[in-house]
Symmetry: C2
């Protein structure tokens, strides 16, 4: 027989469940240790998504119990809206089934794969079914299920389905036995939960570990997250085949309504312009478009002015929460510099809106001689594995950090220094490199946005480092001028037998800065902070000074001699008026509720050229880069050459 016939006989359809049964590493279940983290992650992600959809403040219980040597039982229970009875077997027992795949909006789950993967891994390694309890608010009774997956059919095998009185308004509880290894530290369940808490400050997560440890991540934000709105694909980057498919499925009867109805950011006027440029009758039936006409449409998209995607379908973390999150997690590392987090404007790849955010911290007790640590997040989910081939890591590696004051071999790779970088990408479709959702593909448009966001953050680091150097030099100068100049003047006057000259104008001319200095008196659980503000310029100065505390709470009555505490934004504002040359003002306040020693506060100034100030940053928003140019002119030029 012909060998081709022979080979043909072996050809066979493969069910997606069988495929994953044989390739569980693609789902992230490579090792018992990782499997446990993956299972927690998939269950918690689903709970967070469901709560977000129902505008419920999430309260999630995660419990891990040891069953035998390498078998554990994981229970995840939420207060979400619950899952209706008829959907349970499909949601948990079928791969590629879900509500979020076809929707264009930012959610954690996207694929309809994750939770079925947990069920499959559990049954594969223990032979036991998963147990699910669900209750929805509009029904009095809940349901209990026990489910296995029939991998040949990719369908649930329901072993048990019973009504049950569940003592809750609504929610889902999943119990799964699985081969696992429980560890603490890097890439652990605790690591995942802690990082989840950073970027989901509206969620309370309670974790009971198998050793009896109980950790509660309390919410620090008591507003439910507004779920991102569904949108249509953005016209930019949509492929020819995709336009063909959308055209074949649309209800629109003519091109103009096809364009306005099936894509975002296309108005009637714009649709007419696109038709004109592409030479297509706007009344034509979209189902009758030829390949050449579709190519002409795609070309026209790039020739007209289309607004970038709206942020409605996206859910960036935002400046405030990135900073709060970083402060929360950094604790003992007490960095001496927090960058102003950079949130880029929404951009688009292949029609999918996305947004990139970067925050970074520097100094303090962060190790000096180790590679910079990168905290990666996608759609508010921490990424713990496959860092090496993730776009977020690669973007960091491809920047020449030496230009920004860090050590880096050959100007490539992870730089070395006391720095931590937080990177978040939010997208209606995060381009993960695999179903395990561990790393992000190097899509050119995303790499570009990452590069810009990182460089914007890196410039802040450089400015900080330069200012630090300037401050060091100014301190030396200060010392000389303040201590030695009067002595020289005194001695000279004796020798010359003339009166000691007035030194003030000389000193202020040489110094020409407003000097802000902080001294901290540590007490148990509290700290008294003293701030001196000295005017070493030849003129009177008036400006606003903001004190941003690094941790603890401010004792309002301790703020002396004046100053207003803005509770909402968590800073103290002093209005300093007409500070005379060579005069000093002393301010103080007390912070309490400290878990450890108080770090440094950050001071911001407004209403004064920041180039004349040492010890405070320009107020964000008021950030006057022009004024700073005079200090860092040289470096700016070098960089402009580079970009």
């Amino acid at each position: 027989m012909d060998i081709a016939e022979d080979l043909a006989k072996k050809q066979k359809e493969i069910s997606i469940a069988e495929f994953f049964e044989k390739n569980k590493q693609i789902l992230g279940f490579d090792s018992p240790q990782k499997a446990l983290v993956m299972a927690v992650k998939e269950a918690v992600d689903n709970s967070l998504d469901a709560c977000e959809d129902a505008r419920i403040l999430p309260e999630i219980y995660v419990t891990i119990e040891r069953v035998e040597k390498d078998e554990y039982k994981l229970t995840v229970e939420d207060n979400g809206p619950g899952i209706v009875r008829r959907e349970v077997p499909k949601v948990f027992g079928q791969f590629l089934y879900g509500s979020r795949f076809h929707a264009v909006r930012q959610t954690r789950g996207q694929q309809g794969i994750g939770i079925s993967a947990v069920v499959l891994y559990g049954q594969l390694t223990t032979g036991k079914p998963v147990k699910i309890e669900t209750k929805i608010a509009s029904e009095d009774v809940g349901y209990v299920f026990e489910i296995l997956i029939d991998t040949i059919k990719n369908r649930a095998n329901v072993l048990r389905e019973e009504p049950a009185i569940l003592n809750k308004k609504s929610g889902v509880k999943i119990e799964v036995n699985l081969k696992a290894k429980y560890v603490k530290g890097k890439q652990s369940v605790i690591d995942y939960l802690q990082n989840t808490a950073i970027v989901n400050p509206h969620a309370t997560i309670i974790f009971n570990d198998p050793d009896g440890l109980k950790i509660k991540y309390e919410r620090v934000w008591d507003q439910p997250i507004e779920p991102p709105k569904e949108t249509k694909p953005h016209p930019l980057g949509v492929e020819i085949g995709e336009i063909m498919k959308i055209a074949s499925l649309t209800n629109a009867k003519k091109i103009s309504t096809f364009l306005t109805g099936e894509f975002s950011r296309i108005s009637n006027n714009l649709a007419m312009e696109i038709c004109k440029i592409s030479g297509i009758d706007s009344e034509k039936d979209p189902k009758k478009l030829t390949l050449n006409e579709i190519k002409a449409l795609k070309d026209a998209f790039t020739k007209v002015k289309i607004l970038p995607p709206s942020s409605e379908s996206l859910s960036p973390i935002g400046d405030t929460l990135i900073k709060k999150g970083l402060k929360n997690v950094l604790g003992e590392l007490r960095p001496s510099f927090y960058s102003i987090p950079v949130t880029r404007n929404p951009s688009v790849y292949s029609g999918n809106p996305f947004v990139v955010e970067v925050g970074l911290v520097y100094g303090g007790n962060i190790p000096q001689d180790e590679p910079v640590k990168i905290l990666r997040f996608a759609n508010r989910v921490p990424l713990l594995y496959q860092a090496g081939s993730c776009a977020l890591t690669r973007a960091v590696e491809s920047i020449d950090w030496r230009k920004y004051g860090l050590e880096q071999r050959g100007g490539q790779g992870i730089p070395v220094g006391p720095m931590i970088i937080l990177i978040h990408i939010g997208s209606t479709r995060v381009p993960y490199t695999s179903e395990a959702k561990e790393a992000i593909a190097e899509i050119p448009e995303i790499m570009n946005e990452l590069d810009l966001a990182l460089k914007e953050s890196a410039r802040q680091i450089r400015t900080f480092l330069i200012k630090k150097e300037v401050k060091t030099k100014l301190t030396e100068k200060f010392f000389l001028v303040q201590k030695i100049l009067p002595k020289i003047a005194e001695k000279s006057s004796i020798i010359l037998q003339k009166p000691v000259p007035k030194l003030e104008p000389v000193i202020t001319k040489i110094m020409n800065v407003v000097w802000i200095d902080e001294k901290i008196e540590q007490n148990k659980g509290s700290a008294k902070i003293k701030v001196s503000v000295s005017n070493f310029t030849p003129e009177k100065k008036s400006f606003k000074l903001y004190g941003d505390i690094s941790e603890g709470k401010i004792e309002v009555k301790s703020i002396k001699p004046f100053g207003n505490y803005d509770e909402k934004n968590d800073y103290i504002l002093w209005e300093i008026n007409d500070l005379e040359p060579l005069k000093e003002i002393n301010l103080e306040f007390t912070v309490y509720d400290l878990k450890s020693e108080y770090g440094e506060s950050v001071y911001y100034i407004e209403g004064i050229n920041p180039v004349y100030v040492v010890g405070a940053e320009p107020l964000p928003g008021d950030w006057n880069i022009e004024a700073l140019r005079s200090i860092i002119e040289e470096e700016e030029e070098e960089e402009n050459g580079e970009e």
Copy 2:
């Protein structure tokens, strides 16, 4: 309405084709440049697999033509067995359809995904169908197809299907238009084809690039590769759920035949022993096994002695071809050291046999100050992307190379130095991290084998570096002894007015080595190699000397004054008998057919303790580690402590 009901309405099945349509990066089609490499790779892999199955020496034509700005047409044509008419729509137009998924044996394709991915990407980015020509040997007529994929149904949409007279015995030709970017250099089509040629020396590949360049990779091995045999899962590491599934599908009526029939390496006796240990009646119907009994079986597998998997289902590259392959590709780099490639014995993870191979080269013109280059291969397919999170890279990074004489920051990460590492893993199921098959998951069993193979290779490097140092020191000693000692003796004799003493016994005692030295006279396209062999020991020496040429061919008649050329194994053998102390023999030969300057030959010795020889290695197989111990004793001890 209950929000849960609202959410339920949005739940929907997702077709696998739609899933990949929206996640083409998971298939490796992230960017136009990468997409082109992926498309070539999927088509060529399929051709190589088909030829292997049909025991045909592959001859594959790859042509890339520019259609317009960023659209290219790729054509891949092979002389394989062809695909029977009725299978064509499924093979090319349906995801998760294939012949290799269910078989336990080493093949390039495993998933039934790759070539459909090419079709999908082509239609998505150009709107055009793929064209396929196929002919099988037993029919006179071939067929031409044009196919699109209906992604909603995951089925082929056949636009054209016609008989055609194709001027060939058998084979497949695929033509696909796709959005692409053609580049040369790293991670290019040429890079992929060249690396494919290294590990598939039985294949001829002809490449026509869009710029008119034509490259032919000629086969250097004219035996077809014997296709690996199908086997059953190995009992070790098979999960409980898998045993349950196999038991539910088996035709065996009792446990004993179930064990011997469904698993490899279980004999009748062993089956009875397993039944006894697990306390299960060997006559029991496997379909009636309880969960506890299956757990007992799994436990028993680890308590009896099961042979490691046979190599029949695997296809390692082997020592000779790894070395040939490396020499072929390294050309101008001319390393001064080739390790003896390490092929580990087959091992097993989750019931899947696998084998790890490592070859490495050092020195020559390989850059000194760059990270070591890693050439990764899986099932004879080069891996070009996602190196950062691939088990093969991670295994290199986790070794402390400083112990083996390389530079490495903190004893972790990619070492720096003039070295190239080739790593191949062959498995009946390579655990790729995604469908793109770019990186391998960090399965503990695989990491362990990689670690052992790398360390075995690294020890060779260390020995080489130590011997190099020894040679440098001996050269100094040689100089002193040979030149200065006679002068001292002469002067002393004049001063003392006594005759010059006999120095030979002194010199040979101090030196105590056989010294082998090569001098090369480069000519155009050829080189004359002169080898001097000097006995600086106090005794007569007899041994065999093998000369292994680095490139070109040996001119047999040029071998003087004696010596035999072994054509099959490509070396010259000299038998040196009774070489007297302080005597020297001069040998020479000529190589021709050189593409560039001749590098160094490698010399091996046999029949003499290698510790007394400088300039030659112990013959592989005769590798007498005990004898070497005396040189490298100290380091060996340190290492024994480590392992």
